[in-house]
């Protein structure tokens, strides 16, 4: 048992005597500390300004170039029957409805695959594995997975489908599989971080009420972490929704609308953007009317890019809304 009769006086006996003036800051040191503080403040604020330049530039460019062709016609037609720079019978120049459908379906497919798996993997890591060897391996491999080049993910999904279904099985779902490979690490990592910060108190409180582990996890832990998980998933979606290379390989490119995720090629917005960019310009025959626009592919490309950004923005908005609705009410 520790000694109760501490004699504080005794403790200071033998203590060195200190000349505190030695430790007083000099005037110049104080000034230099202040200067350093100010410099860091400026640098940190500057970091933000610097980061804003590309952002504003990207958004502005896309907006200015994209608005030119972004109209209802563009959003409701696909690219069938679009020849050269000529207008279609509806008066437009083709559109992206097929690409919007493709992007939404393929991304949704990727979400359906990777979010449950990623989330359950995070649950395993945080709630069950407690940093064992297996958990460490998984964590390491998740990091490695985040470094898989998207094109390799595309090759992988393409080959898997070729082996399983047969040659030339290019379809939206293969695209979903390749995207989910890219999404998974982000989902696992962000969910893991979010689950980790759920206070242990809450788990213990739940167990103490005689609640099973499964219900504790689903109803307390996941529920508490939900806003964070949602924003992590949104981040993951944003990561893959703009992927081009793997989708070129797995989902291909087609001018018409295909709403069947599991059969037939499917165009997505990024692929569309890339294809139109690759066309660069359209030919107008010598006898063409004034309605024939040679620069139409680039214009479609920018407009589709704008649509893509808008979709991501809307998703982001939904995510934030969900996060807000389910947010943990802050104290007082």
């Amino acid at each position: 048992m520790a000694d109760l009769t501490v004699d504080p006086k005794a403790s200071l006996d033998g203590a060195p005597t200190i000349d505190f003036d030695k430790f007083k800051p000099t005037r110049s040191l104080i000034a230099s500390r202040k200067r350093k503080d100010a410099i860091m403040t400026v640098l940190i604020a500057l970091a933000f300004v610097v980061a804003c330049i590309p952002l504003v530039s990207v958004l502005w460019t896309t907006l200015v170039n994209g608005l030119k062709r972004l109209n209802l016609n563009f959003l409701t037609y696909n690219m069938t029957g679009v020849v050269g720079g000529n207008p279609t019978p509806s008066g437009g120049y083709g559109g992206v409805v097929h690409a919007i459908i493709g992007t939404l379906e393929i991304t949704a497919g990727a979400m359906v695959i990777s979010i449950p798996i990623g989330l359950m993997c995070a649950v395993y890591l945080v709630e069950y594995a407690h940093g064992g060897k297996l958990a460490q391996t998984i964590t390491l491999l998740v990091d490695v997975m985040s470094g898989i080049p998207s094109i390799v993910a595309g090759l992988f999904a393409f080959s898997v489908f070729t082996i399983l279904i047969g040659p030339g099985s290019v379809n939206g779902f293969a695209g979903s599989v390749s995207l989910s490979l890219l999404m998974l690490p982000t989902v696992v990592k962000s969910s893991e971080e979010m689950l980790k910060i759920v206070p242990n108190d809450l788990r213990e409180a739940s167990y103490a009420l005689g609640v099973t582990k499964q219900r504790t996890i689903t109803k307390i832990v996941l529920r508490t972490a939900l806003p964070g998980i949602v924003s992590g998933c949104i981040l993951a979606i944003a990561r893959v929704i703009g992927e081009t290379a793997p989708l070129l390989m797995t989902a291909g490119y087609i001018a018409s609308t295909n709403a069947n995720l599991f059969a037939g090629k499917m165009t997505t917005l990024p692929v569309y953007v890339y294809q139109e960019y690759s066309k660069l310009n359209a030919n107008c025959p010598a006898n063409a009317t004034a309605a024939c626009v040679t620069t139409i592919p680039m214009e479609r490309s920018w407009a589709a890019a704008l649509v893509l950004i808008l979709i991501v923005l809307i998703l982001n908005g939904i995510g934030r809304l969900v996060a807000k609705v389910f947010a943990v009410k802050s104290e007082r």
Partner: protein
């Protein structure tokens, strides 16, 4: 006090099976990650097999076809690609790391609350811009716009070998690509670091201030040490993204197969991912094997980098 509501207490469903099933699913999902990664690895290996176990004469023919005769064996081919990949991603990481930390600190510790919320949103927005748009923007807007700057750098800092002039015009160079990749990975590092800095314990920050620390000293004492390991893993995520980025590099970089550090000159380096994308559509079967072989090398490099990073952070934590 009577337990008048004991009627409400019925024997609960034990939930034992649900418990087991749930645990099983979670475990299976954990294992699935291993399986998938093993599958990817095996796939790469199998597809690259002709390269390793196949007819070496045909291989060197394919490779010299890829390189226009500059390399005829696999290592001679993948070496410069690997060098280029690491160079570009490392530069991107270096550029974005400090800026990301700066923004994250700005949001977590400097900006007033309303501004911080707005800024967080802006960062998320940046994260949401698809890479093909960065490719378009980088290739069409940034390349011409940044030339005067690189030219200035080459003129005044040209003595440093990295910045040896003359700056290529158009600037489809490693330097420009690194800038674009930096912009792309910036939001990833920023948003994770921000979340971590926001959770830096208040108590220790107050302790630092109470000792008479300036704000920056407080950050150095109480925020950065706390955030270190989290920032490292955020950076690894960002690095992973940079290593694997395909489209933006493909659309911007003028590739070359050298071991050169001349960041401002064109046709010096190429990344593995962009090279696969550039060669794949026209490649024959053996060509695809070679390309996948390069993918395998990238995969192994990612593995090693992550393993080392993990080792380092583990040591720091312990």
């Amino acid at each position: 006090m009577s337990s008048q509501s004991s009627a409400a207490v019925m024997p609960a469903a034990s939930g034992k099976t649900a418990d087991k099933v749930f645990r099983g699913i979670a475990y299976a999902c954990g294992i699935l990650i291993l399986v998938v990664l093993a599958a990817v690895f095996l796939f790469l290996l199998v597809q690259a097999w002709p390269l390793i176990g196949g007819d070496q004469g045909a291989n060197s023919q394919t490779i010299s076809d890829f390189t226009g005769g500059k390399a005829s064996n696999f290592w001679g081919y993948v070496g410069p690609l690997l060098f280029g990949t690491v160079l570009v991603s490392a530069l991107a990481l270096i550029i974005s790391f400090f800026i990301s930390i700066g923004i994250a600190l700005f949001i977590s510790h400097y900006a007033p609350k309303n501004l911080a919320t707005a800024l967080s949103y802006v960062v998320d927005l940046l994260a949401a811009i698809p890479s093909v748009i960065y490719g378009l923007w980088g290739g069409l807007i940034l390349v011409p716009a940044i030339y005067p700057f690189w030219n200035w750098v080459a003129t005044y800092l040209g003595v440093i070998p990295l910045f040896n002039g003359p700056a290529a015009n158009p600037s489809r160079t490693v330097a420009t690509v690194a800038v674009v990749l930096a912009v792309m990975i910036l939001p990833i590092i920023t948003s994770l670091s921000r979340d971590i800095f926001l959770q830096a314990p208040r108590l220790q920050q107050e302790a630092a201030l109470a000792l008479g620390a300036t704000k920056w000293e407080m950050i150095k004492l109480a925020v950065l040490p706390f955030g270190k390991s989290g920032v490292v893993s955020a950076s690894m995520l960002g690095l992973g993204r940079a290593l694997g980025e395909t489209m933006a590099v493909l659309m911007i970089l003028s590739p070359g197969l050298t071991y050169s550090f001349k960041l401002l000159q064109a046709s010096q380096n190429q990344t593995i991912a962009a090279n696969i994308a550039a060669q794949y559509p026209e490649a024959n079967e053996l060509g695809v094997s070679v390309l996948i072989g390069t993918g395998l090398v990238l995969f192994l490099i990612t593995f090693v980098v992550n393993y080392i990073a993990r080792r380092i952070t583990e040591k720091k934590v312990a």
